[in-house]
């Protein structure tokens, strides 16, 4: 199995001299099974570069799994060039949004309103199919499988586990470990804590033992208190989860758009100095646009 990161930035694309090394595109991950079946995780702006590469591999058959529908994870979809070419086939999967009662079939349509984009969905020539997933549902892509797990973000967000031939990758999308909304002396505190523990053990089980965990590590622990509730994790929370789930490699992603390459490296070095590698610990790296991981 091969993993390639096409976008590692959170919130908004931020090209420029300060993000040259780690990249400015928003989330998109290409996963290839051993049979070369194409699985794309999220359609942020990074998907445009992937599209250019795929033009050399026509016809394209892609399964795109959307973790959630915030802009930085879907904005590149209308620019996914294979959509416009007959003979290609795309299957878009994603969660249901209980607030709007929309399934994932709206993910394209909502972006293609005429004032905002010149092409209608009906004019896209590839075959497009949509599947709204339920949590825990496993989808077969060739002989690989993809399973979605409900994580914690302001909109419903699925983390996906991709498996093939005994190898596995888990991508969180955006995730903030659930926290207690009560104070320790509130009557409800203990019960809420117990529900969190139950949910966290389900999350750890979903990513358990994967070869690669690509995890939302937006903030430093110093930044977190003012960002609590925004729906993102920290480097420290990612390391904690990776250790609990006994993953082999942790890739920290969803870099803050305001963070320059130098700042990102300095922060990462500071985090790593607090978490020296112990036996059984995962290898920990920063996600970088263009990074390829072979499993």
């Amino acid at each position: 199995m091969k993993v390639r990161l096409w976008g590692v930035r959170g919130s908004i694309a931020c090209p420029g001299p300060h993000t040259l090394r780690y990249g400015g595109n928003t989330t998109c991950i290409e996963v290839r099974s051993d049979d070369n079946d194409l699985i794309v995780l999220d359609g942020g702006t990074g998907i445009f570069q992937l599209a250019q590469k795929l033009l050399n591999e026509m016809p394209v058959q892609a399964n795109i799994f959307i973790t959630h529908t915030h802009w930085d994870h879907i904005q590149g979809l209308p620019f996914f060039t294979p959509l416009y070419i007959p003979g290609n086939s795309l299957h878009i999967h994603g969660p249901f949004d209980p607030v709007t009662s929309n399934g994932i079939e709206k993910v394209m349509d909502i972006q293609l309103q005429y004032s905002y984009f010149p092409v209608r969905e009906a004019e896209m020539r590839a075959r497009i199919e949509y599947s709204t997933l339920t949590t825990g549902q496993t989808v077969a892509v060739g002989s690989a499988t993809v399973t979605g797990t409900l994580l914690n973000h302001p909109v419903v967000n699925f983390g996906y586990r991709v498996e093939h031939n005994g190898k596995a990758v888990f991508f969180t999308g955006d995730h903030e470990p659930p926290y207690n909304i009560y104070e320790p002396d509130d009557e409800e505190f203990a019960e809420f804590e117990a529900i969190i523990a139950e949910k966290e053990s389900e999350i750890v089980a979903a990513m358990s033992g994967v070869d690669v965990l690509i995890c939302d590590s937006s903030y430093s622990r110093e930044e977190y208190p003012t960002k609590k509730g925004f729906g993102h994790g920290t480097f420290d929370s990612s390391i904690r989860m990776a250790r609990q789930a006994k993953v082999k490699r942790l890739v920290c992603t969803h870099h803050e758009p305001t963070r320059s390459d130098d700042q990102l490296e300095a922060l990462f070095a500071e985090v790593m100095s607090r978490h020296p590698r112990e036996p059984g610990d995962p290898e920990i790296v920063l996600a970088r646009e263009g990074m390829e991981i072979e499993i």
Binding site: P95, G136, L150, I181, F192, I195
Partner: protein, 285 residues
Amino acid sequence: MASLSPEINARLELAVDRMPAFPKSVQKILELSRNINCAPKELIMVIEKDPVMTIKILKVLNSVYYSLPSKITSVSRAVVYIGINTVKNLALSFAAVGMLPSRNVAGFDIDRYLQHSLVTAGIARQLAQKHGNGQVDPMDCYVAGLLHDFGKVVFAQFMAAEFQEVLQKSSDRPLHEIESESIGVNHAVVGAMLIQRWNFPETLVECVRDHHENPVMDNPMSECLFLADTIAKRAAEVEGLPPVVYDSNWRGKHIVLSVDRAIASLGDLTAFSAEAQMFKQASRT
């Protein structure tokens, strides 16, 4: 469970989606959500006191899209699973449906209904904490208490003419008996039917369905609700309503207490009604 005519069935089908919430919670939700930094626990406190908001949140969580490993029966669980922001935005969309009128066409007293539901919920939670021996989740019992009479609001809102007739006849006989005669089904069965349709846990369906009978099922939550409902009616009696008749020999299989012993163990019952009263009164401001 009793079967309903296709016509009644069709009317009830849409009942919950179109059901407005209680005035106080609608006001509070709108007020709290204007502040982006509002404390999540304040929001949850409001939702947990409104049977309509609660049932709608739990309905979403138990839907096919989130066939979660453990069935959701408390709002806190909903917060952990789909996140506080989604819960908040769902509550806002429920608030947008409107507010229940305090006097509706059927002449059903919505304030008294809410008062009884809140008192029953509070008592059920405390009984579970004190006497449940870990066999029942106190928050599940709270939800059971909050929702047990939900069928009445459904009747009042969506079968107003029929329910008005029932209410007029109910001065000297139990309401649920007259409902069964006139409508063909009582509020306990309708409440249970709705929550069953939304895949709520069978234990919750059972205890809502059977809350007017001495619990015979092997369901500790049923016993807890039965006791709480009876005690809540006794508490209201103190405030000057008709006397409540109950079987003083009844003992639960799991919560092995008579009604009188259970009352004695709870201490001052007015504390439960005072808390509910606060929520109710604020709705008129």
